[in-house]
Symmetry: C2
Subunit: 338 residues, 2 copies
């Protein structure tokens, strides 16, 4: 039984998506743009085994692997993805899957993007869908259907845009620049490792209860264009300003949804303010970005990264940092997990 | 030369105002509702002195009084207010004014409300305008013109609404319930004593640059009604929910103005989260409110106040607390400052 192993990065969205159209298709309500993260990777090994009675997904927790439970939100999506892709190959083979993250687990970094893109890639290769795996447009659409549309951005290396659309065929990822395009760095400042109170999927479902959500969709359109151009032209100031605006705009919708979701922690504010001070007082071009969580991604150019990381580590509420450069998207590797 | 002394409280707005129509008239763009604060008071003594060559305003700083400089924003507004009210009496007398706060100065509590209401009251009495001082509608309009419209809410005791309007005559304060109406408490959690980066007046001027400001004015209208009714019916849950919503809505506008103003500090978030946890896990009815600054006002009923204050004092980022009950509005007292 041939083993297949796939490696895939998480990503940080400069333009975030929040809210979906056609819930079952996970089409994001707005175009969203991200960068892959070299030090936040998932590795997934899969084997098809006709003798198995049930699919098994094991994920690394601490030193050992534990089964991913089917009755969790993530578990349901993962086992559904197996069934969907197995159907394509008209096979009835069950699979054994093991998955681990190269970055500190429980660090409060969304691992859905790396996890679901690696899972989908492994499944496509195991079930003889290499043609789809190699056609990144089709691949990204398959990833999107796993329930974490952000994962679709991880299949390309570097800088990627996931398009919204009115149908399954219209919503897919495209590459803006590959991993060598721009020496950009994302230093994640970990300020909380606690499980968040409102899950991302609960958040997506609540967007329409915010009186500010419709305005977000309108006011963000020029920002999407600016971000795309800033990446193409490697303009850190324009990218940074757009990134911070988009973060605030996202958290505004979250904080005004019913019930409100407050993801920020004291350390979040400490890092935001430090980044602004750093920029305004020392001219160091660094910018914050915050996903649906408390930890802060600090975006800068490689030439400034060391100094900025040093400053971040000095903030008392920062527990640790993870340094990331843009990296390759989802790809096959030869070293298996079992 | 007769001395006159006036005492006036600061207030906390459950519904805040942000942005003005007719800038020179300081008419707030929305109705706003507040409670007077028993332990945040300004005392102002005034004497008319025909022998004086210039007006003198002295404010207490530490152990001594220092002149209020004319070229500061507050100074300009204060000396303008003297000229305005002196004109009413057709007098040419100069005045000597001393003013001190009963609450810790430099505590980051907006003292404009108590300061300007006390100043205006003292001026009206000194310049023979007792009729206006006694007619609170007229008095509130005079206070509004001093440049800090929030100060107009301090002239009534207890629970007060300042109305917006299309002209000077339409914008004045009315009382919803006096200081004995409801045993409500406001515990101010001091988390920062630093001078804020964006002044309140800069903030007011920038509102239209926020893409979310127009929506704030729309979505807050039912909240104004709810707040008024919640005060009348002494419904802490309704008042609290509305108060928190209004705080978030205000800070959204600030954070999306150009340039953005981030007033929150790490301690701000720590108190907000503690208040929510306290409520959700222990059923203690406490709610947060944050003005254009970092400090958090925690609103609760008197029966819960001791327990809540104890909890607030335990938060490492909280430096001190100030306990307030609703109190009398601007009034004359007999003990002079000099």
């Amino acid at each position: 039984m041939k083993k297949i192993t796939v490696k895939s990065p998480a990503n940080i969205a400069f333009i975030k998506y929040w809210g979906q159209t056609k819930l079952n298709l996970y089409i994001p309500r707005n175009n969203n743009i991200s960068m892959t993260l070299s030090n936040c990777q998932t590795i997934t090994t899969i084997v098809r085994d006709p003798k198995l009675k049930e699919d098994i997904i094991e994920i690394q927790k601490g030193d050992k692997y534990s089964p991913l439970l089917k009755d969790t939100h993530k578990g349901k999506n993962a086992y559904d993805q197996i069934n969907r892709i197995r159907k394509m190959s008209k096979s009835k083979d069950k699979v054994h899957i093991r998955s681990k993250n190269s970055f500190p687990s429980d660090a409060g970094i969304a691992s859905s993007a790396s996890g679901f893109s690696a899972l989908t890639g492994a499944l496509l290769l195991a079930f003889d869908q290499k043609k789809i795996f190699d056609d990144k447009k089709e691949f990204s659409k398959e990833v999107r259907l796993c329930g974490s549309a952000s994962a679709a951005r991880s299949i390309y290396g570097g800088f990627v845009e996931l398009k919204t659309g009115n149908s399954h065929d219209e919503s897919y990822a495209i590459q803006i620049g590959d991993e060598k395009h721009w020496d950009l760095v994302d230093i994640v400042a970990i300020v909380s490792q606690e499980k968040k109170k409102t899950s991302t999927s609960q958040g997506h479902a609540a967007v329409d209860s915010s009186p500010y959500y419709k305005m977000r969709l309108i006011e963000m359109q020029p920002r999407i264009k600016t971000t795309r151009e800033a990446i193409r032209k490697k303009n850190i100031r324009k990218l940074g300003a757009a990134t911070e605006e988009d973060t605030i705009s996202l958290h505004i919708v979250m904080m005004t949804s019913k019930p409100p979701a407050y993801y920020w922690e004291p350390g979040t504010i400490a890092v935001m303010k430090s980044v602004i001070d750093c920029r305004e007082q020392e001219g160091l071009q660094s910018y914050f970005s915050i996903d649906a969580g408390a930890n802060v991604h600090v975006i800068c150019e490689k030439k400034d990264a060391k100094e900025i990381e040093k400053k971040l580590k000095k903030i008392p509420l920062v527990k640790s940092t993870i340094y990331n450069e843009p990296c390759e998207g989802t790809h096959e590797i030869t070293k298996h997990l079992f």
